[in-house]
């Protein structure tokens, strides 16, 4: 009886120890980011998602693996560490590369066409559609048949019916 109890205890202890070991394998950390500080990395990513890589122009600096983007990411990390605000960092890049680095360009006279062009096109398109539809309705209303034409049409229709009945 006692021996049996001992065996159960041993098994229980063994299971317990195995449970203790579990975290070592099962709960291993996510891949360690390149930069040591995940907060800096997060801010850097948020910023670079709205910045254009000038080498591969349709990619964001966050996505791009170009050497240029690596350098800019490093620069941004350093500036975050130096307690620069997001605005200061973006301004730093705009000063050097122009508004072209921004995926969200500011509204100013040179970008009016970019921002409002589609609205203008839409209004012009809608306007011409309305004008076209109005004119067409007038045309349709204008087409009214004379009494003689109506009779002729009816005669033709009746002829058709007779033909089918045969």
């Amino acid at each position: 009886m006692l021996r049996q109890f001992n065996g159960v205890m041993k098994a229980a202890v063994l299971v317990f120890v195995l449970f203790l070991l579990a975290p070592l394998t099962g709960w291993s950390k996510e891949a360690v980011p390149v930069a040591e500080n995940p907060e800096i990395e997060k801010r850097m990513l948020l910023l670079t998602e709205n910045l254009r890589c000038l080498v591969c122009q349709n990619e964001t600096i966050a996505d791009s693996r170009a050497d240029f983007s690596n350098d800019i990411r490093r620069e941004i990390r350093e500036q975050i560490k130096a307690n620069k605000t997001d605005q200061e960092i973006v301004q730093f890049l705009v000063d050097r590369y122009g508004d072209f680095v921004l995926y969200d360009p500011p509204i100013k006279p040179t970008t009016f066409l970019l921002w409002f062009g589609p609205v203008i096109l839409f209004v012009v398109g809608l306007g011409s559609l309305i004008v076209y539809l109005r004119r067409r309705r007038i045309q349709i209303e204008d087409v009214s048949l004379s009494q003689a034409q109506l009779e002729e049409a009816e005669a033709l229709l009746n002829e058709d019916k007779k033909g089918k009945n045969v």
Partner: protein, 176 residues
């Protein structure tokens, strides 16, 4: 008649826009640094690494800053032109060796000729960022007051030298 003219007119406007679009180069992003003071730097010489060059040394003269690297293929295209230009003595050219290895850079200059008054080293590309460099080769014309007057993105060509760069340099040299 108008019914046929309007689509034709619309097509011609569209075609004109597309035609102009064909001649534009999306890689040439106008630099915001034109007519702004050239960013200051203090960098080690390539040939004598113990010596440091400061950008302030060039105040009072018109000079060219050419950004190059031994890994840059297009730099090889423009290099003979720079060597020729240096020989004429019109303008001193300073070479910014951008993100390069010292030994390969020195070998490269030995092989293709060295047009540079001084070569300086920007191994981590920090000064490159200050100058808005994103594709080597790039060439800047800087005036006597240290203001950037022109930026050539991509290799210098005979055309760009004769039509733009050299006339501009001569004009800038006339200024006080």
């Amino acid at each position: 008649m108008m019914r046929y003219l309007i689509p034709l007119f619309a097509f011609m406007v569209l075609a004109a826009f597309l035609l102009v679009g064909l001649t534009l180069n999306p890689r040439q992003v106008p630099s915001p640094l034109i007519d702004k003071p050239a960013p200051k730097f203090q960098l080690n010489h390539l040939h004598q690494p113990e010596q440091i060059m400061s950008s302030d040394e060039n105040l009072g003269k018109v000079w060219m800053l050419n950004v190059w690297a031994s890994w840059c293929v297009a730099c090889r295209d423009e290099h003979p032109l720079l060597v020729q230009l240096a020989r004429t003595g019109i303008v001193p050219i300073y070479g910014l060796n951008y993100k390069d290895e010292r030994t390969t850079a020195l070998q490269w200059l030995k092989r293709y000729g060295d047009p540079y008054a001084i070569s300086i080293v920007d191994s981590d590309g920090k000064v490159g960022i200050d100058y808005g460099v994103y594709g080597v080769p790039e060439t800047y014309v800087i005036d006597k007051k240290g203001i950037i007057r022109h930026k050539q993105i991509g290799p210098v060509t005979v055309d760009s030298l004769e039509k733009t760069i050299i006339p501009l340099i001569k004009e800038l040299q006339q200024q006080a």
